[in-house]
Symmetry: C2
Subunit: 200 residues, 2 copies
């Protein structure tokens, strides 16, 4: 098996598993089904992954890494932290285009996480990372926004809440509105409200 | 069986099921386990419920009804819609005190909902109801806030996003901050930002 072919096989397995987890659910999907859907042998599967669970965790990691890379790209391209937040909000609109397919895997993850202390302990750290990331951006844009140091942590919680809450609503009612724009408008409203507060 | 004793049995079953669904998961919990935990016979169980699923749906309904009643109570006690929102935010703080126990049942529900079109179709309607409720409150408080009619729907999405996003963060990191206060402060920031917008 060449290196390239091996990479292709791995990608096929991940793609097939993502599809099956989304449509059939994690528990209802076995290694045999993943192999059939991907058109690979069990031998090829176990060459790349120890178990169905390791495929699942790899999918999750990939998704989070892509999100991180996108966020870093925007931060690097922006001098102003608050403008970067608005730019980022625009990107999250893209999440909705394929989120309906990914939501199930996240729900599966959360359901498992809550019953498995080892998985659960990774969740708060994930959230704390996004909070720190947003705090840093707000701090960068502090001079422009007039936001005080002490307020950045609670402002970051607010911005993260907005993003999470819009994502959830967008997943539930994707056609209702342009959710990417709704996040962006919402962040502008929040920033305006925060500036008002600090200038009181 | 007296009426009172029958009510007690039903309550015992619901309470036992809630505990087991939360700790063991829905799939891992059987009617036999629920009966053992509740200290009731299978006969008594099937006198009250058709199946494990109907216990599950009853628990969900109860929780939503309690939430509705609490929200109506606050709306009735407040002349000003925006003030009612702030009061409501304070109440949601109480959600965190026992939410850690209820989160699993909601995740189970969502995971099931997403694989079951019949259950899934109830979810958008639930969200739409909360949006309408918030829109109504904002419209009530419109004169005070100076918020335009056209903005109330997007403002309602924003307020709901904030509540959902804070709840999710609060469930993940309950000790991090006073989440009830964070929702309340956040709603004030939002209202300030929305007023600014409409006075531009």
């Amino acid at each position: 098996m060449t290196q390239q072919r091996s990479e292709e096989t791995r990608a096929k397995i991940l793609s097939a598993a993502e599809k099956l987890f989304a449509h059939e659910g994690y528990d209802a999907t076995g290694v045999a089904e993943i192999c059939a859907e991907a058109g690979v042998s069990k031998g090829a599967f176990y060459h790349h992954f120890d178990s169905k669970q390791s495929v699942f965790l790899t999918l999750l990691e990939q998704w989070l890494e892509r999100l991180d890379a996108e966020m870093e790209r925007i931060r690097a391209g922006s001098m102003d932290g608050t403008q970067a937040l608005v730019d980022m909000a625009a990107v999250t609109g893209g999440v909705f285009s394929d989120a309906r397919g990914r939501l199930p895997i996240f729900l599966e993850f959360w359901t498992k996480a809550i019953h498995d202390p080892q998985v659960w302990q990774t969740v708060p750290e994930q959230f704390a990372r996004y909070q720190r990331f947003i705090s840093d951006l707000l701090r960068q844009g502090m001079e422009q926004s007039g936001l005080g140091e002490a307020d950045t942590d609670s402002a970051a919680r607010l911005v993260l809440a907005l993003a999470i809450g819009m994502l959830v609503q967008g997943l539930v009612n994707p056609q209702e509105t342009d959710w990417g724009k709704a996040i962006q408008d919402g962040i502008l409203v929040l920033l305006r409200g925060l500036e008002e507060k600090s200038s009181e």
